[in-house]
């Protein structure tokens, strides 16, 4: 056991999937030409005022209900003041002392099956800033304010995680949740879902927290894990050599795989938060909350529990299949079309399908192999048209060529051989070609049974029904 304990808290920024911005009517779509989705409010023009988008409030309440949090009947928007060219007003509208969501939690299942409850201190609404552009502008900085005013919910956890793996498991859980709730598209490359990690270490068994470093703007699960692991090692090395950890903000460099100092506590901005006088306190009443609650979808944990009982799956399998709403929907569609064996469907979805998708970096929703197609393959296994082994071959062709299972089975002649006479003939030919092995087997070397199975399978192009083959072969070998 290590002498040091790691303590991690995450601040996750999830971009809310509203059509318009949080305080203006501009569109939020990603990828438009610079500054084409920024109106006078987003540009911070003299005289303009913010008006809150109620849809963003609804989404924040959805999140709050899904994490069993307290929804504040009255929350307050505050101004966070600092100068930066991509911050048009010179302040960001956020929530400070009174956030809309507080005191929630999520349960995370670790790889070893342990369940850990992660506290969520708060989740607050705020606006995103614009972007500074440097590429293709030598000696200058371009400003794109399309993103300025995009609604964000910042989800702040308690320092409840004890390893990079736990942090990633928690982040994945939040990622799945916001997508289930359809409040965030979860697109990490586009920055729709990103996080800052607060990392510290302390001697194992001590109650007080060590000095933390905040690692900014981590936009992939892999970077979160690597950045935390690097940071933990760095801090332990400092402490073991008798040097202090400095409270500071650090940046992760994915190319070098290291974190480096961005600014220390002393250099940190004094944001001079105060309630935004342009916005009234946000009031959320019980009727509003009830309406949002009534519209909540089945949540990941509820769905996993249902999968386990309804389809007879292990808790682990149910958890994997419900990790995303798309995967869960896909699985249920497969089972609906091929209801004979839900367990078999689970194995295929989590096994061959997941591997194939992963290899090409595709999502289950890509449509590359529809649920109906996969169900077609499973039906041919269930009705014994093909064996499980042949099915893998059929799957590969289906995946590569986009064909149906039946078409592949027909065109490649892979239909399973169940005709006893044909299998017997193949067995006899193999026995005739391998007299030495036959003699050894009959002399008591049982292990050679497998050899004969392989040879007959080879002779039948792998199509012999395995159960029938076993039975007939046993009878023939015994003579």
């Amino acid at each position: 056991m290590s002498a040091w304990e790691t303590v991690i808290g995450l601040e996750i920024h999830a971009q809310l999937a509203t059509r318009s911005k949080i305080f203006s009517s501009s569109a939020t779509a990603y990828g438009a030409p610079p500054n084409t989705q920024a109106n006078l409010v987003d540009l911070g023009y003299p005289g303009v005022l913010p008006v809150l988008n109620l849809e963003a409030v609804r989404m924040a309440v959805k999140l709050g209900l899904a994490i069993n949090a307290r929804i504040a009947p009255l929350s307050v928007f505050a101004r966070k003041n600092y100068f930066y060219p991509d911050l048009p007003k010179g302040y960001q509208i956020s929530q400070y002392e009174l956030p809309i969501v507080s005191q929630g939690s999520l349960e995370v299942v670790l790889e070893d099956g342990q369940v850990r409850r992660i506290g969520i201190t708060r989740a607050h609404l705020e606006e995103d800033a614009g972007k500074s552009l440097h590429e293709g502008l030598p000696g200058m900085t371009g400003i794109d304010l399309n993103r300025a005013g995009t609604p964000l919910v910042e989800i702040v956890s308690e320092p409840d995680m004890r390893s990079a793996k736990e942090a990633v498991a928690y982040m994945k859980k939040v990622h799945a949740l916001v997508r289930y709730l359809e409040i965030c598209d979860g697109n990490m490359q586009e920055g729709s879902f990103r996080c800052d990690a607060n990392v510290s270490v302390r001697p194992a068994g001590t109650p007080q927290l060590g000095t933390r470093a905040e690692i900014k703007n981590l936009n992939s699960f892999r970077f979160v894990e690597r950045a935390i692991n690097f940071e933990v090692a760095r801090q332990i090395e400092l402490l073991e050599s008798g040097r202090p950890v400095v409270q500071e903000t650090r940046l992760y460099d994915p190319d070098k795989g290291e974190t480096r100092s961005m600014r220390s506590k002393e250099e940190a901005n004094d944001y001079r938060y105060f309630p935004d006088p342009d916005l009234l306190p946000l009031q959320v009443d019980a009727a509003f909350i009830a309406a949002v609650r009534a519209g909540l979808p089945e949540l990941p944990d509820q769905k996993a529990a249902r999968f386990a009982t309804q389809y007879g799956l292990s808790a682990y399998d149910a958890g994997v299949l419900t990790a995303s709403r798309e995967l869960a929907d896909y699985y249920e569609e497969v089972v609906r079309a091929a209801p004979a064996d839900a367990k078999l469907a689970a194995n295929w979805v989590m096994g061959d399908l997941a591997a194939a998708l992963n290899k090409e970096g595709l999502e289950v929703s890509s449509g590359k192999l529809t649920a109906a197609r996969l169900a077609g393959l499973l039906q041919r296994i269930s009705d014994r048209t093909i064996s499980g082994k042949i099915a893998k071959e059929v799957f590969e062709v289906m995946w590569a060529e986009g064909a149906s299972a039946d078409a592949v089975i027909e065109s490649k002649g892979l239909r399973q051989i169940t005709d006893t006479a044909v299998i017997e003939r193949a067995i006899e030919e193999v026995m005739a070609k391998n007299p030495a092995q036959l003699a050894e087997y009959r002399a008591g070397k049982d292990k050679l049974f497998g050899f004969f199975v392989g040879q007959v399978m080879k002779a039948t192009g792998g199509k012999a029904n395995p159960a029938q083959l076993n039975e007939l072969l046993l009878r023939k070998l015994r003579g």
């Binding site: 006078l40 023009y45 003299p46 005022l49 060219p85 007003k89 010179g90 001079r272």
Partner: protein
Amino acid sequence: MSALHSHTLTQLADGLRRKRFSSVELVGEFLARIEKSQPRLNAFISVAAPAALEAARAADRALASGAAAALTGVPIVHKDIFCTAGVRTTCGSRMLENFVAPYDATVVAKLKGAGAITLGKTNMDEFAMGSSNENSYFGPVRNPWNPQLVPGGSSGGSAAAVAARLAPGATGTDTGGSIRQPAALCGITGMKPTYGRVSRYGMIAFASSLDQGGTLTATAADAALMLREMAGFDPRDSTSVDTPVPDYVAALEEPIAGLRIGVLGEFFDKGLDADNERCVREALKVLEGLGAKVRQVSLPNLPLSVPVYYVVAPAECSSNLARYDGVRFGHRCENPRDLNDLYRRSRGEGFGAEVKRRIMTGTYVLSAGYYDAYYLKAQRVRSLINADFIRAFDSVDVLIGPTTPTPAFPIGAKTDDPITMYLNDIYTIGANLAGLPAISVPCGFAHELPVGLQIVGPHFSEARVLGTAHAFQRATDWHTRIPVGYA
């Protein structure tokens, strides 16, 4: 009808509808007066003569076809803090010297929609920070009653323009007295409505929780007419209030017999000029003569208004003015070396001394370690002041006192001493902190200079405040006095 300029806005609107004169004649006369006055008064930053005459021709066509609205063809002027598409909006600052807003403020759009014609944009203290109009980048405005004196501020240009009959009505904004104080010092009527009654959209922000648009006119009846067209809920301003706008004009004639008037003991303090006090006391007698019941009331926390205001307003302004960074609009310094140089020089060159003083004060009171002692405490006292007012309105219908401690003072007399300057607003700030409607009406002369009487009512009691002022003006003629040389 000769000398059109000497008529009230209400009379002019009526005359246009009766076709006793044309809008082109009216606009032409006022434009000529503005041009002639400019070297003496400097009341305007921009004049929109061609556009005004064009609009006047269109108004005359509308009047001829019987398609006229309440203010069709009536010329007005806007304080240069209201954004106007096509005419620059400077806010009295070098920072916005060449800024042309791509949109009309809601107030501008509403008055335009009611048929009013904009003659130009009036001079003001930079970003509405000041009580003398000496803080304008475009030079001080002079008081039409005596060009050696200030007109008050920050809506000094609007007040001087109406007093000198360069326009029958003007918009203004009032954060701590910026409509009422110059109205008092220029001998006209200045109305600040309830916070939230008039949209702030397009009104360049100084202190968002205090700023409120209003009117500067010769009479309370004119204020009622203008305000009726300006007021109302605006979905683009979250702090505007969604309650119906009464017909303030129709409500003017309500009798004030039995009206319970509270006289604020705190306003008759040692700072009050004896002649000012005499005028106010005589005005109270006039109101008593009309059947009002006068009694003494006390608002114990009111004397804390000035310190509270000079924490809250700078705090909000320090944040509101952060957007003037030289990046997207407004003044940008020449050849910035880097980002910090761009910020430092653009803002250093673009803002004047008083604006910088308030930005620094506001930054200080919001900073870590000082927030609780200054900003938070000021907000607490602000609620106490608000509670004082609400308690007072349990037993009285309106509160009455002086608008200012003294009449107009000489240009340059207080520029070296910001604290003395700030005390000018000692009687007006309370209504802003509590968000109450308040009006200043002329009530006599001290040292041959106009004196203002202030009437404050409960939230959304504009009709009562205007009605009280109107009753007073029917019984007196102070509001008809025009400075020598402008009659």
